[in-house]
């Protein structure tokens, strides 16, 4: 696995740049990952990132956009507003998780 240095910390990433070890993630790292993809995290972002982390810990896989929307009660449109373009992948990246595998 390649490594890269983010916020002064060496982290393992896959060939797309997603973190491969969820245990290397921290709030500070999440803030920096978001900044690197042009997002400044607000309380609304954090609520989703925390859900993703918690859900991954229980389910063993990254929540799809639909799951994030239904489980957190956040309209899909808001997810696109908060993480523009590719919300599911961007959210997973900021949360230090693999991109979701599910189709819907």
């Amino acid at each position: 696995m390649p490594t890269t240095t983010i916020a002064g910390q060496a982290v393992e990433v896959n060939d797309e740049g997603f973190l491969t070890r969820p245990d290397q993630w921290s709030d500070d790292l999440g803030t920096e990952l978001a900044r690197l993809i042009g997002i400044e995290l607000t309380a609304d972002h954090w609520k989703l990132v925390r859900f993703l982390r918690d859900d991954f810990a229980h389910q063993g896989e990254t929540a799809t956009l639909r799951r994030v929307s239904t489980q957190t009660g956040t309209p899909i449109k808001s997810l696109f507003d908060l993480f523009p373009g590719k919300p599911a992948k961007k959210m997973a990246y900021v949360a230090g998780l693999p991109k979701p595998k599910g189709c819907v």
Binding site: M1, P2, T3, T4, T5, I6, A10, V13, E16, G17, F18, L36, I37, G38, L65, R66, R67, S69, T70, P75, I76, K77, F80, G85, K86, P87, A88, K89, K90, Y93, C103, V104
Partner: protein, 172 residues
């Protein structure tokens, strides 16, 4: 082992790479069976999640997907579908279409995939565009009032071709 640790620039996914900008997808939905409604919905949803501008054009039996009266009541039948690998005669037994439909709906719900009306809500919420075919509307004597409120218009085939200029196209 590759290392980027000594580089000053962190290795970050290229979410907004310029070469992936401006991609458009047009999906023509021409079927009104439950099983044939889903491929278009799933692909549209996936494309929107990848930041692709997506337009769905509903024509002929595909109108059942956006007609408020039928959208939540699409059916699956074994008749004419050899992929069930069951005797075709079974499909003609009264109640069999209802049973097959219920089973398919359950299988879809078990995957946490929404029913057709809710799926279209999600697609529109993701920025997808819904269009209805003029000729189909005229044939079925339907107007905008019969269709979901988020259908952006009843347009001609030429209008659709024009507004999806440069798009990749799927016919389902």
């Amino acid at each position: 082992m590759t290392t980027h640790a000594d580089q000053t620039t962190p290795f970050v996914p290229r979410f907004d790479a310029p070469e992936s900008q401006g991609r458009k997808l047009a999906i023509i939905c021409s079927k009104g069976n439950l099983d044939m409604a889903y491929p278009g919905l799933i692909l549209a949803n996936a494309a929107l999640g990848e930041g692709v501008e997506t337009h769905l054009f509903f024509t002929f039996w595909g109108f059942d997907m956006i007609n408020k009266k039928t959208s939540g009541d699409l059916k699956f039948t074994m008749l004419g579908n050899t992929a069930t690998h069951l005797p075709q005669g079974l499909g003609g037994i009264p109640g069999m279409t209802h049973l097959a439909t219920s089973q398919m709906k359950k299988a879809i719900a078990d995957l946490d995939v929404p029913e057709v009306p809710e799926f279209l809500d999600q697609i529109v919420g993701s920025g997808g565009h819904l269009w209805a075919c003029r000729m189909s509307a005229d044939m079925q004597h339907l107007t905008e009032g019969d269709l979901r409120d988020d259908v952006e218009g009843i347009i001609s085939a030429s209008d659709f071709i024009e507004l999806t200029e440069g798009a990749q196209l799927l016919f389902i």
